[in-house]
């Protein structure tokens, strides 16, 4: 009882100060011009048609590097927790029964299309909506389809970690080249080209392709680890 009263009191105090703070901010007024600056600059000087990409990769490129690092750490932590070596007596966790014929044929048709869609999304990240993260997630969905349909489809973890590492190194190297050229980290040092052309926006396209590869490899690795390496408790192993 006294616990509940304390909790309610604490909530009331926090709520009072939050309302007090928020009441001082005028509602609905325009208080900064940074949005206008981004919209103008990403089209005029960066020549990037998709302003979101211009902000995420160029103006806020360092944050994107941080996000990629967070995703990398999460994938690495998950696989280091879940991974286990196969012993001789272990049964394969995946079901022995093959999936239905309809699913197999459908996935055969749909798999290349989904991969191409993902590649399109991250290659055209600076022209159309989407970008590295979205394209990578779409490709990971395609490999998920393959994993749940075909029992023999295996993901090579060596290849995945190589792709991941190379993509990360490309991202960081592009940033450091900007430093070497005497500008800030991740500054755009390539020619920007024309608006709406595929080869425009300088380093943005290269960064998004590398981010796309990295995210696709990481999420595929996560799904593969979770799907195949978890050991159900001994009760469930008999089914």
């Amino acid at each position: 009882m006294i616990k509940k009263v304390l909790v309610i009191l604490l909530l009331a105090v926090i709520g009072f100060y939050l309302v007090d703070l928020l009441a001082q901010i005028p509602f609905g007024e325009k208080r900064d011009n940074v949005g206008d600056y981004y919209l103008q600059e990403s089209v005029q000087s960066l020549k990037v048609a998709n302003a979101v990409t211009g902000i995420v990769v160029n103006f806020r490129g360092f944050d994107t590097l941080g996000e990629v690092t967070v995703l990398f750490l999460a994938a690495m932590g998950l696989s280091s927790i879940m991974y286990r070596k196969k012993k001789k007596g272990d049964k394969d966790v995946r079901a022995k029964k093959p999936s239905s014929r309809i699913l197999q044929v459908g996935v055969q048709i749909i798999f290349p299309m989904v991969v191409i869609l993902g590649a399109y999304v991250f290659i055209h990240g600076h022209l159309t909506p989407g970008g590295g993260f979205q394209g990578g997630a779409i490709i990971a969905t395609a490999s998920l389809l393959m994993l749940i349909t075909y029992r023999k489809f295996k993901v090579n973890h060596n290849t995945i970690s190589w792709i991941e590492s190379i993509a990360g190194v490309v991202f960081a190297t592009l940033g450091i080249i900007g430093l070497i050229k005497g500008m800030s980290f991740l500054e755009n040092f390539l020619p920007t080209g024309e608006l709406n052309a595929l080869l425009s926006g300088g380093i943005i396209a290269i960064i998004y392709v590398s981010v796309g590869f990295k995210v696709a490899a990481e999420l595929t690795g996560v799904i593969d680890t979770v799907l195949l390496n978890n050991k159900p408790d001994s009760n469930n192993e008999n089914n």
Binding site: N50, V52, V121, P129, G130, G131, F133, Q134, A137, I138, A140, T141, L144, I148, L219, V222, I223, V226, L227, N230, P232, D233, N235, N236, N238
Partner: protein, 95 residues
């Protein structure tokens, strides 16, 4: 004009209904699938509200990957919440 609003209202009701169902139901598999439905509705909202980047992310991550990871988790644990009788039957049968 009214014909444009009706599908949006249906979508809102579907999303809210799926959210309530996910909280209420005792079958965790149904709950996970209805969270997928919430994500689908949300991604359509993001698209309607002119944020296609966020809509793509929500569709790829929320609908596909999160749902699948939760379903894999349910496969390796129990399907019902709390002390449901089917859980007990399963455990009793196997031990």
């Amino acid at each position: 004009m009214i014909w444009l609003i009706i599908p949006i209202i249906v979508l809102v009701l579907l999303t809210i209904g799926a959210a309530i169902f996910a909280v209420v139901t005792k079958n965790l598999l149904y709950a996970v699938v209805s969270t997928g439905v919430i994500s689908l509705g949300l991604s359509l909202f993001f698209f309607i509200l002119q944020a296609p980047d966020v809509a793509l992310t929500e569709a790829a991550i929320g609908v596909a990957l999160t749902t699948i990871i939760f379903i894999i988790t349910i496969r390796n644990t129990t399907q019902y919440e709390g002390d449901h009788k089917e859980n007990k039957i399963e455990k009793g049968a196997k031990s």
